[in-house]
Symmetry: C2
């Protein structure tokens, strides 16, 4: 009868029978166009709105898999209320994972709920029991090719032990010879419920429209202390480059401060044409070493080593030596050429040319940079060029380098990075790429979307409480955190902020503590620990006698060195998981705008650190800071013991507001371990900004 009627109507899309909606899936970046980022061992907490018309019971599952697996793994989602569902999965290995969400109407739970209500209200439920028996019977034969579990395994399902359970339960429910109470008890039993949870009819389930992706990187992508050093300055003679072997002599010093990554500016042969002299002088003297970023000479290009530093073998030895000190080497990836680079002669088509045939140097009118030829990524021969640039990275990977700090990625096409990083990470998922893009916010974010593991930030220019609070709330509590990992450099060879120029040694201490505790990834550039603070001229952020243009041996063994403070800070970072991630960051009130207070907690809540820093390098500041006792599961008058790990002092505080006094002459801040027996869970997924 039904068939006869239906045949008279035009057929409709069978997809219209799927009644459940799956929407609002989080995390999801740009409709799934870009993967989110995690490191190995982390969890992805996935939420979604799953609902349907009517009042039936809904069920939902998170589906996930390593990319390339044919089937899905499944986690039941829990209802959070307001039609929101959540589940989580861990990314256990390097590489790419996929996830999505499926929702369906749970016919058995719906029926069970109705039966329970009616029976509880004293109604006759014999008809309902017959319905339930029929429901169970329907589930039995339909298993096989149609069921989701069979679909996952890709073969016909053999008879399943559940079949018997369903058969017996159906028979009892339909048996009018059995007492009603017994039949209902069987129908409502938890064991039957568990069986049915495995056997839901999901043929009309709704799968979310996008398959979303996660890239799982090494833990070092999330947590590391970087030290930037020009190896050529590692000797004692300012008139010649130190060698890698001499630079290896500095490894114990760097390692002793507790750094994880040793980042080297370009180590390649430096061009001679239009070489810059000290302080960026237009003409170099005959012995001036030139800028390492003017890459390429007769001695080679991006896959060669500057002869002053040694040979490729010397470099390999240096990498090995660093590894013995638990330091990973990060190389600089600066895609540009000096006029003497071998590419220029071999591949003039990779550069832009003037109408007269000469190759264009870099310009920012009216400034001219005649020592640098930008590479033309839009060359007609772009394919050979891009392959060559990728080969350069692979070359250094072959020499033990896993970390690359990429110079000015924002002046190279986004699609180049998407392609090159994608290809490289597929082969070498343990590589890390740091984007050195100091430019507009959307460009910096987009580069992170393209696949960079870490990004330089505006941290260097955020020195006041309000701007630090606002910026780090954006970085750690908006969806930006899903794809952009900040790496906070307190200084760089290009950036000596006015704050450091004017604040003396306390300013360096302040910025060190902020960088190392606001960011799980942070770095300093050599000389920071000596509080080097002389700019080339007033108003400039460039160093005087910048190491970019000359060799600068340093005596690090000075009484005012911050090396001991750095060693302590990095030690605390290694001991405290709270400082090894950025999600747990929260800012707290103080009544003095020169005092900033924030806390970080570990993912499992077992570790809680509280930082209080005096942002004023010149004056003692004091005031009250407000502890978020409620968030910590404590009453407003609770007593808390805090242990300053920098100075090994303990304070016993009571109540929310506590007095703090920080004199930069003595100490610029507290790095406190908050000693609590337990911490209530914090919603790491809560987004403060959208």
């Amino acid at each position: 009868m039904a068939a006869g009627t239906a045949s008279s109507a035009p057929a409709l899309d069978p997809q219209l029978r799927r009644r459940v909606v799956v929407e609002g899936v989080h995390p999801e970046i740009d409709c799934g166009r870009f993967p989110i980022k995690r490191v190995v061992g982390e969890e992805v907490v996935v939420s979604a709105d799953v609902h349907a018309d009517g009042h039936e019971v809904i069920a939902a599952a998170l589906l996930h898999r390593k990319r390339g697996e044919s089937g899905w793994r499944e986690v039941p989602m829990a209802a959070l209320g307001n039609d929101r569902w959540q589940a989580r999965f861990a990314v256990g290995e390097l590489g790419e994972y996929e996830y999505t969400v499926e929702g369906w109407i749970d016919r058995f739970e719906t029926w069970r709920h109705e039966l329970s209500k009616k029976f509880g209200a004293g109604q006759d439920v014999s008809s309902e029991l017959l319905e339930g028996a029929a429901l169970l019977q329907r589930l039995r034969p339909e298993r096989g090719a149609q069921s989701p579990s069979a679909e996952r395994s890709g073969r016909d399902a053999p008879p399943h032990p559940d079949d018997d359970i369903l058969e017996r339960a159906a028979a009892e429910m339909a048996d009018s010879g059995v007492a009603m109470e017994t039949r209902v008890a069987g129908a409502l039993s938890e064991s039957l419920r568990r069986t049915l949870a495995r056997r839901a009819d999901r043929r009309l389930a709704t799968r979310y429209g996008h398959v979303l992706r996660v890239v799982a990187e090494t833990v070092r992508a999330r947590f590391g202390a970087w030290y930037e050093m020009f190896p050529r300055s590692a000797g004692t003679d300012p008139s010649r480059s130190a060698t890698f072997d001499e630079a290896a002599g500095r490894l114990p010093y760097v390692a002793s401060m507790g750094f994880d990554v040793l980042y080297l500016p370009p180590i390649h042969p430096i061009g001679r044409s239009f070489r810059k002299g000290p302080n960026n002088a237009l003409e170099a003297g005959p012995h001036d070493p030139g800028s390492p970023w003017a890459i390429g000479s007769a001695e080679g290009g991006h896959d060669a080593v500057e002869p002053g530093l040694g040979t490729l073998e010397d470099f390999d030895r240096f990498v090995e030596a660093a590894r013995r000190h638990e330091l990973e080497i990060a190389l600089d990836l600066a895609y540009q050429a000096s006029p003497d680079h071998p590419y220029v002669a071999a591949h003039p088509e990779w550069f832009r040319r003037r109408p007269d045939g000469s190759i264009k140097y870099a310009e920012n009118p009216p400034k001219k940079y005649q020592d640098i030829y930008p590479i033309n990524f839009e060359s007609e021969a772009w394919e050979s060029l891009w392959h060559e640039l990728k080969r350069v990275v692979e070359f250094w990977i072959g020499h033990g380098v896993k970390i690359f700090r990429v110079d000015n990625p924002h002046t190279k096409p986004y699609p180049f990075w998407t392609w090159a990083l994608g290809e490289i990470k597929r082969q070498h998922p343990d590589t890390i790429f740091l984007s050195e893009a100091f430019t507009r916010p959307k460009v910096m974010r987009y580069l992170a979307k393209c696949g960079f593991s870490q990004s330089y930030t505006y941290f260097t220019w955020r020195n006041e409480k309000e701007e630090i609070t606002e910026y780090f709330t954006e970085l750690t509590r908006s969806d930006v955190r899903e794809y952009l990992r900040p790496n906070l450099f307190a200084n760089t060879p290009d950036i000596l902020h006015e704050y450091l120029q004017e604040g003396g040694r306390p300013a360096f201490q302040i910025r060190l503590i902020l960088a190392a505790t606001l960011g799980a990834n942070y770095g300093i550039y050599s000389g920071f620990e000596l509080a080097e603070n002389v700019a080339v001229r007033p108003g400039s952020e460039e160093y005087l006698d910048s190491e970019k243009y000359q060799i600068r041996p340093r005596n690090f063994d000075q009484p005012q060195s911050l090396a001991e403070l750095i060693r302590r800070v990095n030690g605390i970072r290694r001991d405290h998981p709270a400082l090894q991630r950025d999600r747990g960051l929260r800012f707290h009130q103080t009544d003095n705008r020169q005092l900033i207070c924030y806390s970080k907690r570990s993912a499992d809540g077992s570790d809680l650190m509280l930082m209080i820093v005096n942002l004023d390098p010149h004056h003692m500041q004091h005031g009250f800071v407000r502890l978020p006792l409620t968030d910590w599961g404590l009453g407003p008058d609770a007593a808390v013991e805090v242990h300053d790990l920098l100075w090994n002092e303990r304070y016993f505080w009571r109540g929310e507001w506590n007095y703090v006094r920080l004199d930069p002459e003595a100490r610029v801040g507290h790095v406190l371990h908050v000693q609590l027996a337990s911490l209530p869970p914090q919603d790491d997924e809560a987004v403060a900004l959208t």
Copy 2:
């Protein structure tokens, strides 16, 4: 040379050459899965992030078209700063439009900018001029099949007048015999710039990944005052149904109050089986008329007219009479059946059945609704069923009905609505569907996404200042406003809120003014104007002697009637475009939580209305309200004349804070026209909530 090199490298996806990124397009609902909504004549303001690597000049265009057109219309986008771009287009006709965004690198503007800087710095620019000439020459031949304009017209372009301009400009720029100043002046001329803006090389432009949609509906979808009336009560005899002809006698009364839409509960034959008596009594007496929502009897179903009301011809005449009073008829669409509905016998397969073969009535255990058979949208014969349900709508469209108030759409599958509303609106784009879903927020929103023109809201249960402010900020200043149009009913036959039950006549005045000025769409159910406020029992929102179950002739000619107030309010709404849309709503501070203050402005800023309402129906309330003088382009001490259009009184206010006193015995609120010479533009696109 380049070719030789390139051939040695594996080919790459040519799409990788597109350097520009288009992202963050707004408005966009769920990755473009659902259209946004506008009414004919409105604008769509489209914004996007458009950027690329490097420092070249970017250009962007908004592309839009009526659905079905093959080519795109184009509007240049303006840069708002921070890589954000914006443009707008109007939807001039009913139906569906599409839009997307394209961005590209503007080579000519980039070159022009560089030329200007270098020439301004006194550099020799002869090489740049030759480059520019070559750039212009390249644009000439490449026009034709490749150019976007040719692509749009779909044919080879004939020689274009621009060709000559480019040719001459290129020749002059390259002519070393001409003075440099002259050549530069020509290159920088605005006329050349305009020509080039039309001729940009967009072969490597980036088109946004989604084509987004807008549905343009009739203005009535955005703005209308609804009056709900049971036609059977339009007579004087409570023992029999009034006819449509008698009901027509009430049209002048409804029209005189200034309503736009007259909404009728179901007008179909009412079932006899299990008919409910007065006050929802389980057994009806022999003369009880039953509930109009128990649809279907031997006299017919959803396409028939209840004999007590008359015939189909009588209905047609009623629709015509209403039209003469400028009232549009809205019918109720309640997809359910009484046991006597013709569907039950003809199509038992459209209903759910028990194991014993009997058809299931509606239940909410332990409650039973034996007079209602829910329709089984998941019937095996779902296709014939869905077609039939759609036919019902088309039937009434054939009888002049364009507006449908849909009963409980949240108990019918979402895909049914997506399909049915989509199909109907493609044929009849002037139809309006109001979703009567009082349920969870995400379900209400999803129904709006599925295609309903308007939605009932929680307004009825929002009586306090904070909750009104929060709820209407969500409705009017988050992306929800792109697809959900609120229709605020002050009461319905099912909802007599406690506030009305207890607040007396002032409560009705308050809720009327709030509904009519907070919402461009609002409605009342007959009897509201008489302040009918007796519930069936304490704690219930049901009316005593509800019209749902009995015929309730009323004497509307009563001294305490609010008809005159309603007439004035509706008149003000018709005169003031500010009240005809919801986007212009802003809430303002008051120092008394019983005083709510908000303003609305028209899209063009020419009309500004300010409402101040005493939410306390029992007591005089007074206090200060704060005018947003800065937003209005005035200084903090400015004087403002406001004209209370309800009472025709004028106030001269000075400065931000002004005193207001509202005694519910006299008047519950002010509806003020703010008389300003001009109003600065307000960013209608600004989103306060995300």
